[in-house]
Symmetry: C2
């Protein structure tokens, strides 16, 4: 599938998700609640999670039940709810260059709007998808919260444990994407081994996406990513290239990196190029890239149990896109 064809197909599916959400938001009575929710949802995202749900259903069922769109959109709601609460927690004023809801309206309506989306998502998911879907989503939501706590607990320590990195990532990012995939095929009528393939696909896609993000932070073109190089390192964020380097560089390089991580952000910004050279020398970037590639490889391998069809093609395309993206 060509990149142009893939993007066109994604846009078409995103339009379906948006229509389902537009219709559902009609049940909101308060004008302000509606305003905050719309601000959170209609920011031009790609609707990756819902379209994974729908496409997973289509792997085994060319015409999935019409309510698959309702089930699918709940993942956009859950994602938006978690971003709303994250922005309150971080006191963020901007997200993707746009003012955050908490900056515009203060924290009260934003916490409440997050709660609304969260409750609405779980209600619809349970009603449309049934108890198994609800259990999957409940577990994913719990995993997201647990991962936040794990991160809070280990963030202060400049934790260079790769297993910890993956555990946090699995909960924070991958669990919801995996749930989006698994509930989709479940709703389409999938069996246990099909569900497992989709869970792996979603998990690995989420992990690889974040690892590529880690890489772009050091190696990306700011003109394309829209972000300054080395943001993560300046903030002292323990991403995979850095973690690998800390565990595989010389003792003297390790001392250098650790000293920088204990220093002020301005220090790190100043010595960014040196740090990146140390990471490169320790093969931190190569290793991260390799991990992402292996994850995507495994994700796609699992899909080979399905017949060749448009949905499978799209999932392969998405997986390839995660590795190829430069922004």
């Amino acid at each position: 599938m060509s990149k142009t064809a893939l993007l066109a197909r994604l846009k078409d599916l995103a339009g379906q998700v948006d229509r389902a959400m537009q219709e559902d938001l009609g049940t909101i009575a308060s004008p302000r609640l509606l305003e905050v929710v719309r601000h959170a949802i209609f920011q031009g995202g790609k609707r990756i999670r819902p379209l994974l749900t729908y496409t997973a259903a289509r792997l085994i069922n060319e015409s999935p039940p019409q309510d698959t769109w309702q089930l699918a959109m709940t993942f956009e709601y859950l994602h938006a709810a978690s971003l709303l609460h994250d922005d309150v927690i971080d006191g963020s004023d901007f997200r993707r260059g746009k003012e955050t809801a908490n900056r515009i309206w203060g924290i009260t309506p934003v916490i409440l709007a997050g709660d609304y989306l969260h409750a609405r998502a779980m209600t619809i998911a349970g009603l449309v998808g049934g108890p198994e879907c609800l259990a999957i989503i409940g577990a994913a939501t719990a995993a997201m919260v647990e991962a936040e706590f794990l991160q809070l607990q280990t963030a202060q320590e400049n934790n260079d444990d790769e297993a910890n990195y993956f555990e946090v990532l699995r909960g924070k990012t991958a669990a919801l994407i995996a749930a989006a995939c698994e509930t989709g095929i479940l709703h389409g009528g999938g069996n246990q081994s099909q569900r497992e393939a989709l869970r792996t696909y979603g998990t690995n896609l989420g992990l690889a996406f974040q690892i590529i993000d880690d890489l772009l932070d050091y190696l990306g073109d700011p003109g394309k990513t829209g972000k300054a190089v080395g943001n993560d390192f300046s903030e002292g964020k323990m991403t995979l290239p850095l973690i690998h380097a800390l565990n595989h560089c010389s003792r003297i390089d390790r001392q250098f990196l650790l000293a920088l991580l204990m220093a002020e952000p301005a220090e790190r910004k100043k010595d960014l190029e040196k740090a990146a050279a140390v990471i490169a020398r320790a093969k931190g970037f190569d290793y991260a890239r390799g991990r992402a590639e292996n994850l995507i490889e495994e994700a796609c391998q699992g899909l080979l149990i399905f017949p060749e069809n448009q949905a499978r093609e799209l999932l392969f395309g998405l997986a390839g896109y995660v590795l190829a993206r430069d922004k």
Copy 2:
């Protein structure tokens, strides 16, 4: 049922709820998450909502399914989640004389713990109670958020509209209590008219409880309530006695009250006795008391469709307790 017997029975039921929650909290992995959740839940509350669920089920089924306790406890989770988020929103340092979780740990773990309880409650409610229970709870949660927005929207205006007062109260307080009652009888096997009776019982109990609270704020004995007299008025809160007075006092009294409501809190504190005299003269307290009595009367009338049994006795007892309480 004597007050002593009622309180003993309530305590016994609360113990069952606590056991169910203790067991369920065993699934939490993060020590900090567990700590925050335990702080939120085990503060010595009466577990009114869960015991309404269980007792409602027992109206028609002397031995409700064992998992009724699981369904019941989800209402304590939802209640605790909403208090956690409320305290963050209000920046409250104390609740019932104890330090709030946000004062102890900051807002991050508290927002997240609220999200956890919320998700956990909806998952269990859906799995144990089935789709109808989930729909009832989803609607109640949406009503809670909508009511918060309605209150935000109308709070600035010193709104003396009684219908608005009841609409906010219905969503903020009564909706969850009504859902606790209705899902209980539904889980016990109740039919439509039985469900309706329990919905009315729960709604009216919640409304009456808050109206009595409004009254105790003006007329209560601080030695018993543990709160200073006239707190609500000092804060400019539009409670039922005041709203009634504004709509039924002389023009000159109304000017007096409105001027005070526009003034600083210290002014209102100073003129509290005068204001209370105006409210009394306009029969604001009598009216509120009468409304609470009528609501409780209607709540109990509806229960007459059930046979005389211990559960019905308990619900009558609770209703009477709401009117008789002095703290």
